[in-house]
Symmetry: C2
Subunit: 633 residues, 2 copies
């Protein structure tokens, strides 16, 4: 039996015919209709919320429990639990919205020296006394040029100061086109790369030379379009990683790809499709042609890099956590299915290990740790916390499983960094909070949770073990805590909780609370990060005072209140608070630096090779530190 499903998505309404009994989440996925599924559709996260009008089955107990935190919005359902049984209308947009992400990072002055050079040439017209082949005609012209003009940037003509033999043209695809391209007017533009001519264009096209840098986050993709002749940023675009529909975290996605090679290919294709769409948007918005984009540089964690290259990621998720490869690859973009210039290159930045990815390597470059005599500490906090400690001579890294608490998951009212998320909390006389976009509160994001717990700790609402004080221990008269705070203490469903925002102030028509369990989640998360930092410090044989700069990378690092981070012990007290800086999307910034200069690509290879990876799961020290760090100081 066939039903009609009308889907409302922002201002679009689409009609579909669906077979009776079809799982609602499957239906949405198959039609590329986005709902958030951090758990990968396994029925555990309660995030794939949709509003449904029309006849549905009664929700199961499990669905009811998961829906409970949504307050009174009774026509909300979880797509993964439901099937289409009648003609219905489905409203999207009740799931987490597109994240507001940081796409600035640190930008430095970089000498423009892109990996691929372009150089126009005026060729001699062949005659009976000059019978050079088309290939030799071009190679000799560019060699002559590079000899004549010693000032020519090595980025334009690789192979300078070498004999003609060192410049080659190997691609038959390019060679096949030469007779036509040359004979228009004997003016051509060559695209060169490491002594190889990889493309030849008719006429002088030197002015059209673009590149793209991309940071593929597990959650968000951020892409940057640059003019590689001028070094100017032309455009920035960010979007959710569409792989999210197979799970919010890398492990769910790896599990999906393990099931079959077609799943693996699907995971690869979905990201490629998204990249091609972004490139299309760049074309439209900037009046350029993708044929003139010659390189695209990718940062991202090791799993994302595996998916990007269509490598099997299975062993990343299994001890002893073996990547297929961590090296840098410069492959023809067409080999990955990315539609830029047909000779264009996709540069996949190097990783260090299964859980220290190219994003971390790029972030190290961006942080300048690799140029520094002094010791830097770089921390990128997400589901995993990637930590690098070092200077220009040595680097140690580790990755520690913080869990998704800082990203709002596993927290009862946790949300990502979306509009309406409580991102700042102030515990003065009265509690004050701030939401992203100053909209009505609908949840609490990572930086808000850190502020809240720091404040609760300071106010004595929780003790150093993380335990909530008993409300009965307080009376409004006998305490410094103040009436506002005491009234926020409440036992909800048998669990001590603290009300952050009251029902009437919220978008979701429900109190937004921090529960005892939420505090425990945070304790686990911060202990993992702090213990990782301490182990690296010990491993390097330095002390906290030696660390002259602490760089917090990524969106969370940008929003977090540093003082709160110290208060809860996320950052150990032996670090100096004054030395802490937020460096934004350092992974994206590093990818851009690589796009603008091949020397930065080389430098990232050096960084990759310099970083010693410390596997925490193999260390007794780490377990000790982890337990110690569970407490608040």
């Amino acid at each position: 039996m066939i039903h009609t499903v009308k889907v409302h998505n922002n201002n679009n309404i689409n009609m579909f015919t669906v077979e009776s009994g079809k799982n609602l989440l499957d239906f949405l996925r198959e039609n590329s209709l986005y709902v958030s599924t951090p758990c990968g559709g396994q029925g555990t996260c309660g995030k794939c919320r949709v509003k449904v009008k029309g006849l549905m089955k009664e929700p199961s107990e499990k669905e009811k429990t998961l829906l409970k935190s949504l307050g009174d919005a009774n026509d909300l359902r979880l797509a993964c639990y439901n099937t289409v049984e009648a003609d219905i209308e489905v409203y999207l947009g009740y799931s987490d919205k597109e994240a507001s992400i940081v796409t600035e990072g640190i930008e430095k002055n970089i000498d423009i020296a892109p990996l691929l050079g372009k150089k126009s040439l005026k060729l001699d017209v062949p005659d009976i006394n000059d019978q050079k082949s088309d290939v030799d005609r071009i190679i000799e012209a560019i060699s002559l040029f590079s000899t004549k003009d010693s000032g020519i940037a090595s980025s334009i003509v690789s192979g300078t100061d070498k004999s003609v033999d060192y410049i080659t043209m190997e691609s038959l695809e390019t060679i096949r086109e030469l007779p036509k391209i040359i004979r228009k007017d004997y003016i051509v533009t060559v695209i060169s790369y490491e002594g190889k001519i990889i493309g030849v264009e008719q006429g002088n096209t030197e002015d059209k030379n673009y590149g793209v840098a991309v940071d593929i986050g597990t959650t968000t993709i951020a892409a940057y379009l640059y003019d590689l002749k001028t070094g100017n940023k032309l455009d920035v675009y960010s979007t959710l990683n569409p792989q999210g529909k197979y799970g919010a975290d890398v492990l769910s996605r790896i599990e999906y790809t393990n099931k079959s090679s077609s799943n693996q290919l699907e995971m690869h294709k979905i990201i490629i499709d998204s990249l091609n769409k972004i490139i299309g948007i760049f074309e439209q918005n900037n009046g350029i042609l993708r044929e003139y984009i010659y390189s695209i540089v990718f940062a991202g964690n090791t799993t994302m890099m595996h998916f990007l290259m269509d490598l099997p990621a299975r062993y990343l998720a299994l001890s002893p956590f073996i990547p297929v490869t961590t090296r840098m690859y410069k492959v023809k973009s067409s080999e990955l299915g990315i539609n830029i210039n047909k000779s264009g290159l996709a540069i996949v930045l190097p990783c260090v290990s299964a859980y220290i990815g190219a994003d971390t390597v790029a972030a190290v470059l961006s942080s300048n740790m690799n140029k520094s005599d002094e010791i830097y500490l770089l921390i990128d906090i997400g589901t995993n916390g990637e930590i690098v400690l070092g200077n220009k001579d040595w680097m140690y890294s580790c990755s520690t499983a913080a869990g998704p608490a800082f990203e709002g998951a596993n927290i009862q009212y946790g949300v990502g960094g979306i509009k309406g998320a409580i991102d700042k909390v102030n515990f003065t006389d009265k509690l004050e909070y701030h939401t992203i976009g100053s909209e009505k509160a609908l949840g609490i994001c990572g930086s808000g949770i850190v502020d809240a717990v720091a404040g609760m700790l300071e106010k004595g609402i929780i003790d150093e073990t993380g335990r909530f004080i008993d409300k009965t221990e307080y009376s409004p008269e006998n305490d410094s805590l103040g009436r506002d705070y005491i009234e926020r203490l409440e036992e909800i469903d048998g669990m001590n909780s603290f009300i952050l925002a009251r029902r009437e102030e919220t978008e979701i028509n429900s109190n937004i609370i921090i529960t005892q369990k939420d505090v425990r989640e945070l304790q686990n998360a911060k202990a993992a990060i702090a213990a990782g930092i301490k182990v690296l410090i010990k491993q390097a044989g330095v002390i906290g005072e030696d660390i002259k700069k602490v760089c917090l990378a990524g969106g969370f690092g940008n929003y977090i209140n540093i003082s709160s981070a110290f208060k809860i012990g996320l950052l150990p007290s032996d670090l100096n608070e004054k030395n802490v800086v937020s460096i934004g999307n350092a992974a994206g910034a590093g990818a851009i630096e690589g796009l603008l200069s091949k020397y930065n690509l080389d430098e990232m290879e050096t960084i990759k090779n310099k970083i010693k990876y410390v596997e925490l799961s193999a260390m007794v020290d780490f377990v000790d530190e982890y337990v110690n760090c569970m407490f608040f100081e």
Copy 2:
């Protein structure tokens, strides 16, 4: 209207349905039924002979003239002139048969050092203290191996004595397979090439390592299968170049490819298909798998190399004769559509100019000119005569358009080196001749023509200008010529002629004669070669006596009577007859040498760069010499 055509081809009979009015040659080509078409189907060569039973249109005058030389075989027709107008039966096999070609050449003792090496490795099993990526695990293992065992051949592990970084694995296709391949039993075999690992196989497969060398002649393809572990020749196979259906000579074929890019692609695909079939035959005959063939080396003239790589050949045929490229290419065989190991390489040997091809470069290697202190002269006589003069320090080359006389074309009863061709003629008391395979004579091939003209010259049947003596000048009594010879003089169709074989001795039921026109054709041809030799000698500033070895390459060079060649002045008299040797299929031999050792590939690049090409069409000297050489001395 549809007719039935029954085609008899050797012992096969096939039925086809054909639309009324369909050109018979087109029909045969489209069904891959071979008939010889030296003129490319333009109706001028008269070689596309088939026997037809059933109703046909009356032959045109032109067809009649062309059919005339076929004697009494009245049911023979030329396919190109005829259309299918009724149900008919067509018999093939009246066209030139498959050539018997020379596939031996010179073979030398060669140290086996193939371009691609194979090496088996036992890998360490990863654990939590050894988290190297799959790629690094293999690269480190092979690096370790090459450090430990300094005796390892550089052909097996390129990048020896270099740091690990110099060994790379760049192919994503290979990398994607690693997790599975490695984890079977941690024994793998790597295929390496110039410091790159281009393939990884499960288990130890070192013993299975084959390669193929191919000489793509305009007329014939000769292929050689070698075991690259032992250096043993396993098999040889030769077949007609199927591109022959688009013309016997390169110019007709180029013209065909100029018409459209699909024609160009067709010319490419037809040779690739043929190569894949040959590889299939090698598999069957030798019990090997094409997956274990890792390299295939190609020699051939510049046009054949263009077709092989699907390069547009248009400008090879137009002054100033510009190739798209003359360089050596080592490309993935899959890029050309050649089905060997998926990581296998196709090596296209380098050419010098539009008319000095990779076959000549390979022949120079085979001749040892490149190692010689003394001066060698290499001559490969075909439609073009390619001539190289030089030693290890310098080389000059030219290509001279001899026309197809030496290949039997443009000669009234000329045929290729097929069975029944008169290949030797002896002018003693009585004329004696020999045919290939000692079968009944059906024509005369190049070496036979040279013998015949040399003998006619010696006997005074033609004078030093090439003119036939008038039969009336002779009477049987008053002359040394002898009765047998005088009786062979006859005016046929108004032209003085000499009867080589009488109707009753021949297969074709017609006299086989040499006409005045045939002698003129030969004079043109031999003058072109001799003048080329003289120009090169002059260009190099040497004299004939300085030349210590004259190498005749190719099938014609193998069969020709050297003494006759001197008599007619094909080889100038200032060369020493004692220094002349036939070196057989030197192009094929050179390709084999390249297959067996990458150092020979390097050497061929050196030869290519060393050879100075002399463009005869731009030289006044050549025209002078050419006119001089027209006479007999």
